[in-house]
């Protein structure tokens, strides 16, 4: 009897651990992964151009060593023949930026896009708002143009206006 009970206990533990692990990313099938949703690719150029100015300089996310690696004019270039002061940001660079952003925390991002969780669940948003340690400081305050540009896009409510406000903002030192 004790042996049978022990066997049943081990079987129970094994089953529980299998069930427990089944939700992990590693165990997801490609079909399950494809169920994740991402923010709009079509709307992303507005966001990319705003992020380019405020996040992607060579001393910040315009570096190959960053998890959130951003390409574009004024920063890191995708083409080996291009340089930061060369041509305007290219479509392949915007595509690479999109991949970089949506690849950071895909499951949480999917939940944010679907309005299942608050955008603050994303490290990207917490660092943007300075509520999580960010070596680059606090690039945005909740509700300002950069914040709305990025967060509205993340929550599938994209509005190009706040992104344009970021892009067209005067730079105080250049007069």
């Amino acid at each position: 009897m004790p042996l049978k009970r022990a066997r049943a206990w081990f079987a129970g533990v094994a089953l529980a651990s299998l069930l427990g692990c089944s939700a992990s990313v590693e165990d997801q099938t490609s079909q399950e992964r494809s169920l994740l949703v991402a923010p709009s690719r079509n709307d992303f150029p507005d966001v990319a151009n705003a992020m380019q100015l405020r996040c992607a300089t060579l001393d910040c996310h315009g570096q190959a060593g960053r998890n959130l690696r951003l390409y574009g004019y004024g920063g890191l270039r995708l083409s080996p023949t291009e340089n930061p002061n060369g041509n305007p940001t290219t479509d392949p660079e915007i595509a690479a930026d999109y991949t970089s952003v949506v690849g950071l925390e895909p499951e949480t991002l999917s939940a944010v896009v679907s309005h299942e969780v608050d955008p603050n669940q994303l490290t990207l948003v917490r660092k943007l708002r300075g509520t999580e340690r960010h070596k680059g400081g606090q690039p945005a305050v909740e509700g300002d143009s950069l914040d709305r540009c990025i967060v509205l896009w993340l929550t599938a409510e994209h509005d190009p206006n706040p992104c344009a406000e970021v892009i067209n903002a005067p730079t105080p030192g250049n007069h």
């Binding site: 100015l53 300089t57 060579l58 001393d59 910040c60 315009g62 570096q63 190959a64 004024g74 920063g75 890191l76 270039r77 995708l78 083409s79 080996p80 291009e82 340089n83 930061p84 002061n85 070596k135 680059g136 400081g137 730079t171 105080p172 030192g173 250049n174």
Partner: protein
């Protein structure tokens, strides 16, 4: 009895000494250095012959690698080197470099005969992001992007220019339009 006490005491002394020596050796071996920073400094190489340490040394190098709390040399908020042309490493003095920070405060410093300029924290501790422009005589050059973190111009403005490097800082963009200033330096 006394002999036993003395032996005990000397054993305790030698144990303490051994512990102390071991702790010092362990501390020396596991000192909190930064090997990445050390390697970056070493990669800069030695001083140029005939140029002593000072305001004229190491033009074009990332100043704040050493001139920072981590580097040990007197810290700079921001520092760099200005050359005349994009395709030449001829330095230019007398260029006024104006740094404006996110609060709207600004500070202007001037490049010396090595082209070097520096802003010390006691003069100005800017709050990022920063914007820079340079002027000498009628020539004005404005930096395209803001600076968010880096205090060394050369960290991004190095040669050769490439996907992650802008190329060195220069004043004259088009010699046919902008008149190059005459240097008074030897």
């Amino acid at each position: 009895m006394n002999a036993t006490l003395q032996i005990g005491r000397s054993l305790a002394d030698s144990t303490l000494r051994a512990l102390l020596a071991g702790s010092i050796a362990f501390g020396a071996l596991t000192a909190c250095g930064d090997p990445v920073h050390d390697a970056s400094v070493a990669a800069l190489g030695g001083e140029a012959p005939g140029v002593p340490k000072g305001e004229f040394h190491r033009p074009g190098q990332p100043c704040t690698l050493c001139h920072s709390d981590q580097g040990g040399a007197p810290p700079f908020s921001i520092a760099g080197t200005v050359y005349i042309y994009a395709d030449s490493l001829m330095p230019i003095e007398g260029v006024q470099v104006k740094v404006t920070d996110s609060t709207g405060r600004s500070f202007t410093t001037t490049s010396n005969c090595a082209g070097n300029f520096m802003v010390r924290p006691q003069e100005f501790t800017p709050e990022a992001p920063l914007w820079l422009n340079m002027q000498r005589d009628a020539v004005v050059r404005v930096m395209n992007t803001a600076i968010y973190r880096e205090g060394s111009c050369a960290a991004c403005h190095g040669d050769p220019a490439g996907p992650s490097m802008v190329g060195h800082v220069y004043l004259i963009d088009d010699p046919t339009v902008e008149k190059a200033p005459v240097s008074q330096c030897h």
